[in-house]
Amino acid sequence: MDLAKTESLDLPQAEPAKGGSVGAPRLTWMERAIVPAGVFLLLIGLPWLHPGYRLLSLAVSTGVNTIALCGLAILFGQAGIMSVGHAALMGVGAYAGAILARDLDMSFWAALPCAALLAAAVAGLVGLPSLRVGGHHFVIITFALCGLFTIVLTNGGAFTGAATGLDIAPIGTVFGVNFSKLQNLYLLAAAFVLASIGLMRLVMTSSYGRTLRSIRENETLAAALGVNVGLHKIVAFMISGAFAGVAGLVQVYFLQHISPDLYGAFPSVYIALMVMLGGPRMLLGPLMGAFIVTFLPEVLNLDPIDARIAYGVGLILVILLLPGGVMAGLAHLYLSCRRCVVRS
């Protein structure tokens, strides 16, 4: 098709836009950079603020969840596919790490690619038949995956440690850094969090992210324009699985003991809650979601039952009032404040 010769054609103009400015809110690069920069400094600097042991371990838990959430944010925020089975994929990474260390004497670093690939492979196997149906069916199938995974682990005998689970030695000293110290383990988790957010940004800003968004926005149209919808759904699920596998591996070396109940349906629902709460389409949404869900019971002094009620109420409030999650809500709040200031 040669459109060069159509330049001179007298083509009518499109209808003018109604109302004021439309489109994505515009932020200057300073405004864009200041929050990530602040978060970056806080993440790296936290150990030097002398937090107590309790706070620091909560921070590591937040980090572990954030890694998995970045993957789920790609799946849900970009491709529009919700999974409530992500704890099972974390479990694949965690058990892979523990079993590889026990049977093959594999270190954390050697197990890292194995955990990521294995979790991605499991995601691919589950996604292959189930992503063809999509929507609510997929949510239910991922939920069933969690139940199945727990049953397999509980009945796995000595191989999976049955209901008691498995123990693992700490990472130990690498290049003179002793990762048995919580402070250093925290920094390792923080590095993984930063890498996950970086990878998530890479996907979001690439043309691959655009392909995933086309599936989220209109599957039928995407297919009619040549997008291989089925393939990209499975690949997106496998990418999110790899993130979950890495998160599970970091988790097992942090907890040093894992059992099946860590990877059942309840933890999966928590992960889904976190991603919706934080903001699945926002770069810092996963961190925010993990932070809120991990720290809220601590800050408000809630017992586990009250915390569950609080999460439920919180989720309903977010869906009703902040459909884009807390981070998107904050961004909108900032923009409307700025508009008021500029006007006055």
Binding site: D2, L225, N228
Partner: protein, 237 residues
């Protein structure tokens, strides 16, 4: 040269026969119109040809290759691209992102690649590249739908009621755009109920009724055909 050749195409949903042995042929420099009453199988025909539905029987050949039963994205990548009755877009994305998606996928070879911005100018959406598609008025969404299909580098474009919901001046603009397509190497096959539009731009009309072709030929001949008049106006008593 015949590019799309449909022979004995049947599509049944349970006991309902939606397409009852359709034959048709469309060339790459044609503008062919498909008309018929509601429920006569026009959209089903597009759905089966472009892979949204699997044919029950018969063959669909595109550039000499059997494509019946292939997936929708595979057919689109071969240069046979359709638009939809509803003005479809990727609503939360910007107009440029919409066009880029079609540009990055779409046909792999054939016609030369066109930058998406030139296409948006072609359909009259220049200056709106950064607007969110879902916030645009209906007429612009129709333009966008056409731009998306063109960005996928089609050799034959199947337009499903492109003028539905447009006012007279918008329909006139649309007709101008469609008339230019064969000259740009894009054949057109379109469904519409607007007979003024159809008779003014189509070289050939095909009339469907109850899933069967009842007439085919030049617009003025077809509309004077006795069977066609019966279908549209009822049998003479």
């Amino acid at each position: 040269m015949i590019a799309l050749e449909v022979k004995g195409l049947r599509k049944t949903f349970g006991g309902v026969v939606a397409l009852d042995g359709i034959d048709l042929a469309v060339g790459l420099d044609d503008i062919v119109g498909i008309v018929g009453p509601n429920g006569s199988g026009k959209t089903t025909l597009f759905n089966v040809v472009t892979g949204a539905l699997k044919p029950s029987a018969g063959s669909v050949r595109w550039l000499g290759e059997e494509i019946g039963g292939m997936a929708a994205y595979q057919i689109a990548r071969k240069g046979l691209v359709r638009t939809f009755q509803q003005a479809m877009s990727f609503p939360a994305l910007t107009v440029r992102e919409n066009a880029l998606i079609a540009h990055e996928h779409g046909a792999r070879s054939g016609t030369r690649a066109v930058v998406p911005d030139a296409l948006l100018r072609f359909v009259g959406l220049d200056g709106r590249e950064d607007e969110i598609a879902g916030s645009m008025p209906f007429g612009n969404l129709r333009r966008l739908g056409l731009a998306l299909a063109l960005a996928a580098r089609p050799r034959l474009l199947l337009l499903d009621e492109p003028a539905a919901g447009l006012n007279d001046s918008e329909t006139e603009q649309l007709a101008g755009i469609i008339r230019r397509l064969p000259g740009l190497g894009v054949g057109v096959c379109l469904i519409d109920h607007d007979m003024n539009l159809m008779t003014s731009i189509c070289q050939r009309l095909i009339v469907l009724d109850f899933g069967a072709k009842i007439a085919e030929g030049r617009p003025e001949d077809v509309l004077n055909d006795r069977k066609v008049m019966e279908v549209y106006l009822g049998a003479p008593t």
